[in-house]
């Protein structure tokens, strides 16, 4: 067993874990933050994407213990319960960027990461290329692409929120 400390969605957590516990298992099973999903076992589908120290990572391919000392943000941490949605969340709803919802948390976390790296004016080719690590089986990506573009723009209009993330 090993002690791990991290901040998850702004909350400090400490746990004594089996070192083989993956970060995705830690948030889902220990913290019961089940919005982060698992869709494959070869690190490809991106359903498990969350942020570690502000960067999108596949939580199925990171040990929880590797995130020791880090700050982790999951889909649940984007907006306060019952509070205002993050602009990217709102854009996914507005543009019907989700159907079954399973890939959605990973998509949204990946999308925010794209904006953090590439800025607020994203063209279609950039968005499609940057979604390389996220599979969706429902939407044909059409509306996801629209949602990411709109969400990126909206994030640009809300500088204060973004800084808080």
């Amino acid at each position: 067993m090993a002690i791990v400390n991290m901040t998850v969605n702004g909350r400090a957590v400490t746990a004594d874990i089996d070192p083989r516990m993956l970060l995705v298992q830690f948030v889902r099973e220990n913290l019961r933050l089940t919005g982060t999903h698992v869709g494959c076992d070869t690190s490809q589908c991106g359903s498990c994407v969350l942020h570690v120290d502000g960067q999108a990572v596949k939580a199925c391919t990171v040990l929880a213990i590797q995130a020791d000392g880090s700050s982790v943000t999951t889909i649940e941490g984007l907006s306060a319960a019952g509070g205002e949605l993050h602009p990217m969340q709102a854009a996914f709803r507005e543009h019907h960027g989700l159907q079954c919802g399973y890939c959605t948390p990973g998509m949204i976390m990946a999308a925010i990461d794209i904006v953090n790296r590439k800025g607020h004016a994203l063209d279609e080719t950039t968005i499609r290329d940057e979604l390389e690590g996220n599979l969706c089986r429902c939407t044909g990506y059409h509306n996801i692409v629209k949602a990411v573009a709109a969400g990126a723009e909206a994030m640009g209009r809300e500088p204060i929120r973004q800084a808080a993330e």
Partner: protein, 789 residues
């Protein structure tokens, strides 16, 4: 139309939970005292099980139980069933071999279930599974359906020598042969409809629970049709009595057919929960999903089209061999038969059609319905035939199609179906315009200047959806009726719960069904909630597949709403002290005709429950109505998809440049959601045409058993789609809905392959048209050009 009524692009009510991570999928549940199941699967495609030694594994830490097929037999648990009886040409019933949830004596495909380990943790269960010693006598395997029918092929089931489950046919052979005999031109093609792995992003999962106090069971499962699961698990498999088994399908992360079926794992979780006295949970990993989710398609077809001297189609015949895998999955037998051959008329007026279909066992995962189920296979045959015929006749493929379209309705095809309404020419014209068909040759020249090959391809598909009238499907062999049920419960405050037998796993029912209620009852959409996916709440339902939730599921709701209005009028008559016949209901208000006296819907609801204004003798209190709706016909969505693509002959990479879809889905409840369904279907169809294919090697190992090898469509593989609609309301249901869930997947493969063959200038390429395959075909193309010069 109100802002939230029928036809409005209402933003989805269910999204709030999905975008905030508050969705609840089966694997998200954590049950007190739960144990974890891990299935030991066969590493061999075909083998006798000589012995299973679990002694060492039982002694491993955390192990609660290890169960095998012998334990199932001892508890008299029945096998999994196939619910659709097919009879062969000679009248004999299909030959269905046994399908135990855990293997009994033999394994028949890689991934077949050998034993289950139940332990305190998943890791412990998996560790222990590795310690189980199974002695196998490995047998030769066969994975190709055509090879399986050959003399001397390994026999998968004792009941089916030559591995043939049925030799079925449809249509009139004599008149079809006669048409071919007098044809001026005959087009012949051989096609393979590649095997696909459905891959909804949420893997299958199940949690079984047993409550000894009530002797009752609960199954949480990733199901598209929880009531059917309960029926099969109780009436046929016999793990629990129907009234003591509650099946809950919570949020389900996509299905595409693969979550219709009743599988071994959920059966075992329910059964084992009682045996071990703890909740038993299982979640598939992706590799298990590849190995053991029912696959789709896998047909080999020879087809011919006969034309007269005017380019009018006069006959079609097809011979198809369908790979059904190692066992007959729940609806597998219906897919290559009644969901396939009745669509071979396409959108065309073809007087004579004859189809022969053999269903064949092989040592591969079971094959069953996958988005479109039979109809993509039929569309691929018809639309490739028609395209090739047009080319052979030197006719424009759009004109050739238009010449042969069905133009008068209702239209009786020679293969069962009565098309009730449509205007295929209108869809084609609109699609040609949106696709700028006129500008294609200019774009082709421009591509050529850059050394690229550009092609355009059509797919003028039709599908039979909403399945369907119970009497009709019953006469064709279905073990169930295909109606739907609904209950509309109006609460005293006027808020409404709608209980539906349809199941939403991405389709947005919580929104579209609520829109119907808003539209009809004039209540705000926030006051409506859609309840589904729980057999304790919803009385019965047939579930969601075959694009049936709108046409059948919503029609049931509409029927129940009508009853609510009738009852509401009675209540209003008492409240307003008027004659019931004088009460009108409009815009959420009951009024006395010709007066301004009225009462709102919510007030009527309250009055119905307090019942102060009437006595129980003349009117029952309460406002709750149920309905079962059985449609009068299939529905026939149809449309035209046009794919324009560019091939890089140096690498074989195909880029889809433009996609135009014009669909006729009848009346549309929510265009935003409908378009989303079309987008997703197209992506799956493009996936089939260009990328996806399940490959077994000769020994029966699945080579494409992960996303590392199985090529899923990604964002960068697809363009934005141009989606247009035409509308001819469906006459056979009260809402005029035809259904939209499968159209894209049905239409797309033929459009892509017609475009690729157009670009290449020859037909010699199969799905999936991978870069390698396209490069080879382009080489041939170049060689042909050289030869011609």
């Amino acid at each position: 139309m109100t802002g939230t009524g029928i036809g409005a692009p209402v933003r989805r009510k269910e999204d709030q939970r999905f975008i905030t991570g508050a969705g609840r999928y089966t694997d998200d549940l954590s049950r007190p005292g739960q144990a974890h199941a891990y299935f030991l699967r066969s590493p061999h495609a075909h083998a006798k099980i000589l012995s299973i030694d679990t002694a060492a594994a039982r002694a491993m830490p955390g192990v609660v139980a290890i169960l095998t097929g012998d334990d199932l037999a001892a508890d008299k648990i029945g096998g999994l069933i196939c619910g659709w009886m097919i009879h062969s040409k000679d009248g004999s019933p299909m030959k269905a071999g046994p399908h135990p949830a855990l293997a009994q004596g033999k394994v028949r495909y890689v991934g077949d279930h050998v034993a289950v380990v139940i332990a305190d943790t998943y890791a412990q269960a998996r560790d222990a599974a590795e310690a189980i010693e199974v002695a196998y006598e490995v047998l030769p395997a066969v994975v190709d359906a055509r090879a399986a029918q050959k003399a001397g092929a390994p026999q998968v089931h004792d009941v089916a020598d030559d591995n043939t489950v049925f030799r079925w046919h449809l249509g009139d052979k004599a008149s079809t042969d006669a048409a071919f005999a007098r044809a001026a031109h005959v087009t012949k093609i051989d096609l393979v409809n590649n095997r696909l792995v459905p891959n909804p992003m949420e893997p299958r999962a199940a949690v079984g629970e047993y409550d000894p106090g009530n002797e009752s069971y609960t199954l949480f499962t990733t199901s598209q049709n929880p009531h059917v699961a309960r029926l099969v698990l109780s009436a046929f498999i016999g793990v629990a009595p129907e009234h003591k088994l509650r099946v809950i399908a919570p949020d389900v992360g996509g299905g595409f057919g693969s979550k219709i079926f009743i599988y071994a794992e959920e059966t075992v979780c329910v059964w084992a929960a009682r045996k071990v006295g703890r909740p038993v949970r299982w979640t598939s990993d992706r590799t298990e999903a590849f190995l053991s989710d029912a696959h789709g398609r896998d047909h080999a077809t020879h087809a011919e089209l006969a034309m007269d001297e005017n380019g009018k189609i006069i006959g079609l015949r097809a011979q198809t061999i369908a790979n059904l895998g190692a066992y007959l999955s729940t609806f597998s037998s219906s897919v290559p038969t009644y969901l396939y051959a009745p669509l071979l008329s396409g959108s065309y007026d073809i007087p004579a059609i004859y189809a022969e279909v053999d269903g064949v066992y092989t040592n591969t995962a079971p094959v069953d319905a996958y988005r479109g189920a039979g109809r993509p296979e039929a569309t691929f045959v018809v639309e490739r035939l028609v395209e090739v015929a047009a080319r052979e006749l030197g006719m424009d493929p759009a004109k050739f199609r238009k010449r042969n379209y069905v133009k008068r309705f209702p239209h009786q095809t020679p293969v069962i179906m009565t098309y009730d309404a449509g205007d295929y020419g209108a869809s084609m014209d609109k699609a040609l315009e949106l696709a700028d068909y006129k500008g294609f040759s200019r774009r082709k020249r421009e591509s050529a200047r850059r050394g690229k090959l550009r092609g355009i391809g059509f797919s003028s598909y039709i599908e039979a959806c909403g399945i369907a009238p119970s009497q009709a499907v019953g006469s064709l062999g279905a073990g169930v009726g295909l109606w739907e049920s609904a209950e509309v419960r109006v609460n005293p405050t006027g808020s409404i719960e709608v209980l539906t037998g349809s199941h939403s796993h991405g389709q947005g029912h919580e929104t579209t069904f609520a829109q119907l209620v808003c539209d009809r009852l004039g209540v705000p959409i926030e006051n409506v909630i859609i309840v589904h996916g729980d057999t304790d709440k919803v009385q019965f339902g047939m579930g969601t597949y075959g694009s049936r939730s709108g046409a059948v599921g919503m029609s049931a709701i509409a029927k129940a709403i009508d009853k609510v209005i009738v009852k509401g009028k009675k209540v209003a008559a008492h409240v307003l002290e008027a004659a019931e016949a004088d009460i009108e209901f409009k815009d959420g208000k009951f009024t006395v005709a010709g007066t301004d006296r009225g009462v709102g819907f919510a007030d009527v609801a309250l009055q119905a429950y307090i019942a102060h204004k009437f006595s129980g003798q003349d009117l029952e209190p309460g406002l709750k109505e149920g309905a079962f709706y059985d449609p009068t016909n299939f529905t026939f969505p149809a449309g035209v998809h046009i794919c324009e693509l560019e091939i890089d002959p140096d690498t074989g990479v195909t880029t889809i440049e433009r996609w135009t879809a014009v669909d006729d889905f009848g009346v549309i409840i929510n265009p935003m959601i409908v378009e989303g369904q079309v987008h997703g279907g197209i992506a799956q169809g493009v996936g089939q045409a260009l990328h996806e294919g399940a490959i077994y090697d000769e020994s029966g190992q699945l080579v494409t058993a992960s996303f590392m090898d199985y090529r899923m469509p990604r964002a960068a593989d697809l363009p934005s789609f141009q989606v247009g609609m035409t509308v001819t309301p469906c006459p056979s249901n009260p809402l005029g809905i035809k259904g939209c869930g499968e159209a894209g997947a049905i239409a797309a493969p033929a459009a892509v392959m017609n475009a690729i063959t157009d670009a290449l200038g020859h037909e010699d390429i199969a799905m999936p048209a991978t870069p390698q395959a396209v490069w080879r075909a382009a080489q041939k193309n170049a060689a042909m050009r050289v030869a011609a010069e």
